[in-house]
Amino acid sequence: MALAFPFSAIVGQDEMKLALLIAAVDPSVGGVLVFGDRGTGKSTAVRALAALLPVMKVVNGCRYNCDPNAPASQCAQDCTARQGDHAVKGHKAPVPVVDLPLGATEDRVVGALDLERALTQGEKAFEPGLLARAHRGFLYIDEVNLLEDHLVDLLLDVAASGENVVEREGVSIRHPARFVLIGSGNPEEGELRPQLLDRFGLSVEVKTPTDLKTRIEVVRRRDAFERDPEAFLEHWKRQDAKVRRKLEKAKDHLADVRVDDHALTRAAELCMALGTDGLRGELTLIRAARALASLEGAEAVEDAHLQRVAAPALRHRLRRNPLDDSGSTTRVERAVEELFAA
């Protein structure tokens, strides 16, 4: 398997990196959409994140990534119950980052009858799909805007319910599938269905760096990586470990971060000023700000945290106004300025 480019060696693109870290700290933020120019390191960043994530505990022998500390198992294998009265045994496993490649078929996404066992033993067994593999981890879709519609429908349903229900070829199974959806794409090649857009907690716009120094650095590091991946990884190992520790600490610390009324009011005011639909905007804004506060080791969510996550949390939730030429980012920034200046 190809080695991944180290996360900390990615030059610039701070908003994207921050959004990915926030989603890793608090999965309930609800996914990240990375939209932008070609050749800006979108997929590189996601794959780099995968190499960085701390490990998680998984019930031994469970094909659905069940958590041994969860009160009860819901998975189709019923893994917790099967181990009787003994304490559930678990092992450490990397947090999955599962690729959903374009051209994946429905049976591989949701899972289907295990063909091999059916053919050789005449047994009706279920073979879990990508959704099962992504449970408690990340599901990454490159070129998400080109994904076929029927797969999008399917993802929307599962993402909303946190559960994958399979009813096909005589198999009837349900298993939990809670994952952080990460999508990337280039808006020039087609846009995203509004329903799917809404599913993403944060949305980031990436642009090609235009200043020479940054570009040189990008090319230089890329070249060094390609020449000798092992040495390059070695060189960046410490930096990556630092990010990993920060991430672990932020995860543990998350529950202790206070969100007081002042922050809630601010978030509500901001969403009202922008006229976002529904309450998802507020929720995401607060959660993202809390994750950010936790990453920075703060005790409570402050205005500064809200300001920094406002654009990624809200820019894709504004009502489209085809006659307003100013981009949604500017609109969010304007509202933030007005609100926090007061």
Partner: protein
């Protein structure tokens, strides 16, 4: 060897060097996008590439409409049935590992094939999640894409072009120019061995990055590709370190074809090749050159000069035209020709025979047969190790057909449509766009003024692109309605051939004053317009004429009748009314 490379600027020599460099490092340099029609020149180039590529490396041809299972791999039917267990079959991409995938008619490739090629080029592997199989296979490929587009905006997808090192144009090369050059497979083989050892100084990176920025190339990938090309060039020349000449070659072959602006070359330092076609007299200097050491600066200038010299003549004029079309920086023209056949949404499978039109769903069929295998084996007098599939196991896929529609807006941008009216029309188009976008229809915009009708927005689903384009339409000039209708008809025909339903919406005041041949004169212009209108009427393409003049204009009505179109007079049209009116006719929703 050296003679072929350095000073010659002949496109054919460049193309040959490019072929050699592709053969040296197919995956590294990404490959080549070759704009050429099939013909002896192209064949000769391909023969050269084939002869240079080490014989052990695969060169696989990719048909334009390759299916995903052949591209990526999938279930091998025969082997699966033989073995009684799923047997995977490698796809084209995995089969071409280490070598080259050859793609004809790249401009017509489907977005999904492009995406798969792009992923393989980026990562050197194929991830397979199909037909109950999950695998990762190495696919370190280079891609040679033949772009056979004729029209200016008929081009290979930018997502692919961005990843291919060389962009060659063989259109202008005649057979006589395409002489054999002294490039031999041994040199290439030696270069391949040397490649890993080639070192590269930091100033080369800086020079290539600086040059790519000065040429207005947005994607960082270009600089990375140029770097790899420079390295391959050094290897090809038998050297262990990248030198200035290699960097200059990379700039010429990789950066120059991607330039979107001419760099400002200082005139006191004559560029490497002394007859640079047209240096702009501008002496404005780039702002980013403060802290660079002299040495780097000189290399960068050299690299830049090499690139500038290779920028084709007339590029500047073309670029100006482009910027008229769109104000954005990195717009692609892809969307238009990615007219993939939507196969419709699979509705699941049902029992049935794979007769005409019905496609056998192999995996489902096997799944249906699977549970019965033990029983069926017992029925047999002699047990056989094969899967028994019977007629009632057959499953065929059902598709829900959804024909896409493409709305073609022909917008009158002439002087007779007052300026604010043009603004309203743009507004209406944007509202309709937003609406089309929700329904996933495509839209396209033609603007006509002066003697021309120009396709300012090829059919697209991207609201972002559409908006940017509309913002840049200039107004003023005569009203060439005949030309506008003809152009709209051609486009509608194209859309129809792609299996979609076109709808033409003509926004005009109906007062034609430019005839088809571009000359003035109201009478002739109107007669021409009527003739064009009748001809589009005969094709049965659904049309809508929106009369934007202050008072309803009888001529617009006449036009509409001749076109067999719905007619709408919207004198004080504001954008919202206009879009509501168009929608209320149900034309756009008409054939769903």
């Amino acid at each position: 060897m050296n003679d072929d490379r350095a000073p010659q600027l002949s496109p054919w020599a460049d193309a040959c060097v490019a072929a050699a460099l592709v053969a040296v490092d197919p995956h590294g340099v990404g490959g080549a996008l070759v704009r050429a029609l099939p013909g002896p020149v192209r064949d000769r180039w391909l023969d050269l590439l084939r002869s240079l590529l080490p014989p052990a490396l695969p060169l696989r041809r990719l048909p334009a409409h390759v299916t995903d299972d052949r591209l990526l791999g999938g279930l091998d039917l025969a082997a699966t049935l033989q073995a009684g267990r799923p047997v995977a079959e490698r796809g084209l991409l995995a089969e071409a590992d280490g070598g080259i995938v050859l793609m004809a008619m790249a401009e017509r490739a489907t977005p999904s094939s492009i995406a798969h090629l792009g992923a393989a080029l980026d990562r050197g592997e194929v991830i397979l999640e199909r037909d109950g199989l999950a695998m990762r296979l190495l696919a370190r490929i280079g891609v040679v894409a033949f772009d056979e587009g004729v029209a200016d905006d008929e081009r290979a997808a930018p997502a692919l072009a961005d990843r291919l090192g060389f962009h060659l144009d063989l259109h202008r090369i005649t057979v006589r120019d395409a002489i054999d050059l002294e490039l031999d497979p041994e040199t290439v083989a030696m270069a391949r061995e040397r490649l890993r050892e080639v070192t590269l100084a930091d100033d080369v990176i800086e020079a290539l990055c600086g040059a790519s920025l000065a040429l207005g190339i947005a994607s960082v990938r270009a600089a990375i590709l140029a770097l790899r090309v420079a390295r391959a060039a050094a290897a090809l020349d038998g050297r262990e370190a990248v030198e200035a000449a290699d960097a200059a070659l990379a700039a010429r072959l990789v950066l120059a074809p991607r330039a979107t602006q001419l760099p400002f070359v200082e005139s006191d330092e004559p560029p490497a090749d002394d007859d640079t076609p047209d240096d702009p007299p501008d002496d404005q200097e780039g702002e980013e050159q403060e802290a660079q050491p002299e040495e780097v600066q000189r290399l960068e200038d050299m690299v830049l000069a090499a690139a500038a010299a290779a920028i084709p003549e007339g590029l500047l004029a073309m670029l100006r035209l482009e910027s008229l079309r769109r104000s954005g920086r990195s717009a692609g023209t892809a969307g238009a020709f990615q007219a993939s056949k939507l196969r419709g949404r699979p509705l699941g499978t049902r029992r049935g025979l794979p007769r005409a039109g019905a496609r056998l769903n192999l995996v489902e069929t096997l799944r249906a047969a699977a549970p019965w295998q033990p029983l069926r084996r017992q029925e047999r007098p002699r047990p056989v190790q094969r899967v028994e599939v019977r007629q009632d196991d057959f499953r065929v896929t059902r598709f829900k057909q959804r024909t896409e529609s493409t709305a073609i807006f022909a917008v009158d941008a002439s002087g007779s449509s007052a300026l604010h009216r043009l603004a309203e029309a743009k507004g209406a188009v944007e509202l309709l766009l937003a609406d089309c976008y929700v329904r996933r229809d495509r839209v396209s915009v033609l603007a006509f003024r002066g003697a021309l009708a120009e396709l300012v927005l090829p059919p697209t689903r991207s609201l972002a692109r559409a908006k940017r384009t509309l913002g840049g339409i200039p107004g003023g000039g005569g009203t060439p309605i005949a030309t506008a209708i003809d152009t709209a008809r051609d486009l509608a025909d194209q859309v129809r051939r792609a299996g979609q339903t076109p709808v033409v919406v003509l926004l005009t005041d109906g007062r034609a004053n430019v005839a088809r041949d571009g000359t003035g004169g109201r009478a002739q212009a109107h007669a021409d317009a009527m003739r064009s209108a009748r001809s589009i009427g005969e094709t049965g393409i659904m049309c809508l004429v929106i009369d934007t003049s202050a008072k309803p204009e009888p001529k617009a009505r006449e036009l509409a009748d001749a076109m067999g179109a719905h007619y709408l007079a919207l004198p004080r049209a504001d954008a919202a009314m206009l879009s509501a009116a168009v929608r209320s006719t149900g034309v756009l929703e008409g054939r769903r």
